[in-house]
């Protein structure tokens, strides 16, 4: 009965132990995202050194999918260049919306989000962190 496809272990684990949760006082990039349908809120913080992301964190309230996705994002962004972050964002968005993309390896946490695709109303939850990132990078 338990919904394994959606609630994969790694998603629950990120939800219960978010990686980089909390404000980043010396962030030089921040953006706020909101899902008006469900009221989920998210603030994303990045600290960059030149073109490279050195720290990333998030604050927010929401369902397991939106929070786990944000946690995975902060973990994945650290060490990437802005351009690499943009490419990763496009790849995750493509995975969630069913567009062609280079699949994630099974041992990459982000691959756990693939199951969300079969739950149309939850795709927006998983996308929230990534669309917030997109807005941040566009505003940059």
């Amino acid at each position: 009965m338990v919904d394994d496809e959606l609630y994969r272990e790694i998603i629950l684990e990120h939800y219960h132990h978010p990686r980089y949760k909390g404000a980043l006082p010396d962030a030089n990039l921040t953006a706020e995202g909101i899902n008006p349908l469900c009221g989920d809120e998210l603030t994303l913080y990045l600290k960059t050194d030149g073109d490279r992301i050195v720290e990333a964190s998030f604050e927010g309230r929401g369902c397991s999918i939106s929070q786990a996705s944000a946690s995975m994002l902060t973990e994945a962004l650290r060490g990437l260049t802005i351009e690499e972050a943009r490419q990763l964002m496009e790849r995750v968005k493509a995975m969630l919306t069913g567009a062609p993309h280079e699949p994630f390896d099974e041992d990459e946490d982000l691959s756990a989000l693939e199951g969300v695709r079969n739950y149309p109303v939850r795709i927006k939850c998983a996308l929230l962190a990534w669309t917030t990132l997109e807005e941040m990078l566009e505003a940059k």
Binding site: V2, D3, L6, Y7, H16, L37, G39, C63, S64, I65
Partner: protein, 418 residues
């Protein structure tokens, strides 16, 4: 103490009238507990739509042929049924799309003509967005100010705060009859009496009340009362506004077009009698006719019997949920102070996840802010889960819902109750 259903209430016969209740979801029988969002429709209402389109379809108030006469007769009969159902006369009942449109009609037609800079509009913090946003729009255009009556920790309206706002002589009090999140039934008759004493007009949002309890607008004595058909067995797209006839006569039209005129010249027009003055264009005839049939259905079962049945279901839901240490319940604890719904949260699981897991069992509940972000902020949550009942729900369904909450614990529980 165990809750029982009145022996005279034949829920199985009622259920047999609702084709959708035979549906299965993921192999499970559907348990539909999202009635505050919209109700299911009985065969009689669905048949009324088919019969109207197969037998009598024509435009109303204009043709001289048989079908036009039948359609007009059916439409106006439905108006009379719906009006009488809430203790009003047909002349004071305007068909709208839904509660939202009914409130907007008052906001634009009455509000823009009667509100001035500095005037006070009193709302409550338990309003649905449909009874907030139209007033914000009108306030922006007129310079009127909005004040909100808070609710107590028990989920009841703070009557002292209301009375102190009334001393500032507001022009309008717009208040919900039943909260769609807390389930609270507000004392709208008392509020109306007090508001009238200081010269304020009163609008009541009855979207969650008319489907579930006997409502009499003449007794409440309010000036405006708005409600939707789709929450009370009728199709979507049809609702109603009751307004005092003299107010309808004074108010300028909301929308202009066909039907609502008496005479049109190059420069100006004069208006049809109320309520037609507020029904520009071809109305939603078929759904209005079916609205009348829905009202017939509810009256046949009896609103008091329905209310009592829902109260038993609510009592059982409250009793089962209150015993759970990992669950928080919102709104009054006394089922007699509520209409048939219960909002709740797991302490450590988001309501979307709760609703998703219950859906796998065929159990449909709502999770979200329920168009009440002000309540959510007051409760310090972003969303709640909500189970809402109607005349066809059973005690077994309430218990199935409660039992399925264990699935939530199975998915989320192993993290030490976090």
């Amino acid at each position: 103490m165990s809750v029982q259903i009145a022996a005279t209430y034949d829920v199985q016969t009622i259920r047999a009238d609702f084709p959708i209740l035979k549906r299965r979801v993921d192999g499970n029988p559907l348990v539909y507990l999202d009635n505050a969002a919209t109700s299911q429709k009985p065969r009689q209402v669905i048949d009324a739509l088919v019969q109207y389109y197969e037998q009598s379809n024509a435009n109303v108030h204009r043709g001289l042929h048989t079908l036009a006469e039948e359609a007009t007769e059916a439409y106006e009969t439905a108006r009379a049924k719906v009006a009488h159902f809430i203790g009003a006369e047909p002349e004071s009942l305007v068909f709208t799309r839904n509660t939202t449109e009914a409130i907007n009609l008052v906001a634009y037609a009455w509000g823009l003509a009667n509100l001035r800079e500095g005037d006070l509009i009193v709302l409550s913090e338990m309003e649905h967005h449909s009874n907030i946003v139209p007033w914000q729009l009108v306030a922006q255009r007129t310079g009127a100010k909005l004040h909100y009556v808070p609710f107590t920790s028990e989920g009841e309206l703070d009557m002292e705060a209301l009375e102190s706002l009334l001393r500032q002589e507001p022009k309008l009090v717009a208040i919900t009859h039943v909260s769609n999140v807390l389930g609270t039934v507000n004392p709208v008759q008392e509020i109306t009496r007090k508001a009238h004493a200081v010269g304020a007009k009163v609008l009541v949002d009855g979207a969650q009340a008319v489907p579930h309890k006997l409502v009499n607008v003449t007794q409440i004595d309010c000036d405006f009362y708005a409600f939707s058909g789709h929450k009370m067995l009728a199709p979507t797209g049809i609702g109603a506004l009751y307004a005092r006839q003299e107010l309808l006569e004074q108010m300028p039209p909301f929308m202009g077009g066909g039907s609502m005129i008496r005479k049109v010249t190059h420069e100006f027009s004069t208006w049809a009698d109320v309520p037609t003055k507020f029904e520009a264009g071809t109305p939603n005839i078929a759904d209005a006719v079916a609205f009348g049939v829905a009202v017939d259905y509810l009256q046949r079962v009896g609103m008091e019997a329905i209310q009592q049945h829902e109260q038993s279901l609510t009592e059982e839901a409250l009793r089962l949920l209150e015993a759970e240490e990992d669950i928080v319940i919102y709104g009054p604890r006394d089922a007699r102070k509520r209409c048939g719904l219960v909002s709740f949260n797991f302490k450590h699981v988001h309501p979307h996840d709760v609703a998703q897991i219950l859906d796998k069992r065929g159990i449909a509940i709502r999770a979200g802010h329920h168009c009440c972000q002000i309540i959510m902020r007051r409760l310090d949550v972003t969303a709640t889960a909500r189970a809402s009942f109607y005349l066809y729900n059973t005690l077994e369904e309430v218990r199935a819902f409660w039992k399925a909450l264990d699935d939530v614990r199975k998915v989320f529980g192993k993290y030490g109750g976090r």
